[in-house]
Amino acid sequence: TGSLLQAKVPRDLVKVLSVESQSSTKAKASTERFLKNSLRHHSRYDLSDMLCHKAVVLNYTRPKKDKLKEHKKVKGLNARQKRAMKIFQIKQKHQSYEVFLPLHELWRQYIIDLCGGLKPTSNLQFVQQKFLKADFHGAIITVISSTCPSYVGTTGIVVQEFKHVFKLITKENKFKVIPKRNCVFSVEINGFVSHINGCMFEQRASERATKKFKVRRAIDL
């Protein structure tokens, strides 16, 4: 096939075409030159480049940022996990009114400190504002008025406060769940009796401490 590529021009066509065939070495060089120009050269398949040595530096590399770690926050337990762990269930031996009395004493101290000492001369408006943001875990509350007659008169220490209910423990060592809606509670501390309208109080204790209360007109139960 090399002979076909490089065939001399026949003698009788030389004069007609006025082309001279080159010598074999020149022809070879020109063929190579032609091929080189017409073929595409990829730097990747550059043989000479490939065969030369390249040095790879193993130390002094820039550390790669671990991007995944930045987005990973500490996720709390979801409700299912909490229920499985039964953190809201109180054991039988702990279901006693006496066990919660120290909590009540703690709450009394907390409230007295919060309101700056509940003296008879304290400003009622100030005390009221503090009560709105206060935590009621450990308070002794009484239901004084409710649309459901069976809740009326229930008294107990607040064991848990949820968004819509209070969980109390009564003197008979019974847990009572009282919904906040349509109930009026009364809290007594050092002679200060405050009535809480449960309908307005339907927020989690943590949210209540931070959120502002809207001023709404008093609603009948």
Partner: protein, 348 residues
Amino acid sequence: MSVDVCEAPHCQLVCENSSFLDEENSLVSLVQQLHFNYKVSLLIPDCSSAPSHLDSVINSFSSFVLIKNMPVSEFIDKDFLETAVYPGSVCALSYRTRIGEDNCVALMPNGRLRLSLDRHSYHLLGIEGKVSKFRSKGRHIVSVDLTDSSMAPGGRGYDRLLSGLTCRLPLTSDFLLSHQQGVQSCLKSLLSRYDWSELRPEVSTKVLHQLTCPSDLGSCDAYSVMDWLGAVDAGISSSIGSSSSFLSTYTCPGPQRMATTALSISVSGFLLPHHVQILIMEVRQFLEQSSSPWASLTVHGFTDNVVSCCENEHGRLRGGVNFYTLLMSKGHDYKLLIVTGSHDSCSP
């Protein structure tokens, strides 16, 4: 104004013809069921003076007392329960309490205590009750059977009621109290603690002259008879009959006749069912002996009563009518007309 015109209160009139000799007549049960009676009015035509024994009968009615500012918790006091409620001899009604506005209380002889409370009081009391049939939003009826075993002193139900009436809702009211054996002798300890006054039924007698009255009550329409009786009781009977009168063209119903004299007696106070029965017996006896063709006896209940007949709820919108009329004729037949207001339940 326009609202009043559109919602005119309506009344029910139930008419029954029967005889005293009929053992199954409903008169006896009706009289027994209306525990609290305010007034009994009698109308006897062709009669000029009250029968003597009628006066003595009325004078023999036991007196009743009006106690001021008594708390309702006294009704569940142990002594009171044992001496008065359990034997079934006492009944009490709150006095001057308006059924639509205030809290009303009634204690019936069968030991049932009924409270009609407004919404706020009901929420405070904490005893299970029912919503009023007639005013669903504002009124609740609490009915307690004090003779029930759950309400025995020391029981849970009793303690709950006691704490409700003493601590949570200390209701006080003036009460009309009546005891079958005499209040003063049987309820001394109760009376000694409160301000009370003894009262007797008031009797007023009127003699009417030249009264146009129906000759046969049986043939007249019940409504027109009631209208006419009301007109006589109100004292406007003198203007009836003259159709040329400028003010009114109302005439006496049915075939008329002129009675020269007629007697109108009214006994008012805190009257019990057995008082009413005694009066009915007396009038019947009198009718047998006298020349009067008929006699009418109307028993009025209290307008602000908590209960109507058969311990049904009694309400008061603008009416509050709560009475029955007995038209007795010679012989043993009678016509019973029961009228109840729009907020009442009538016995069947």
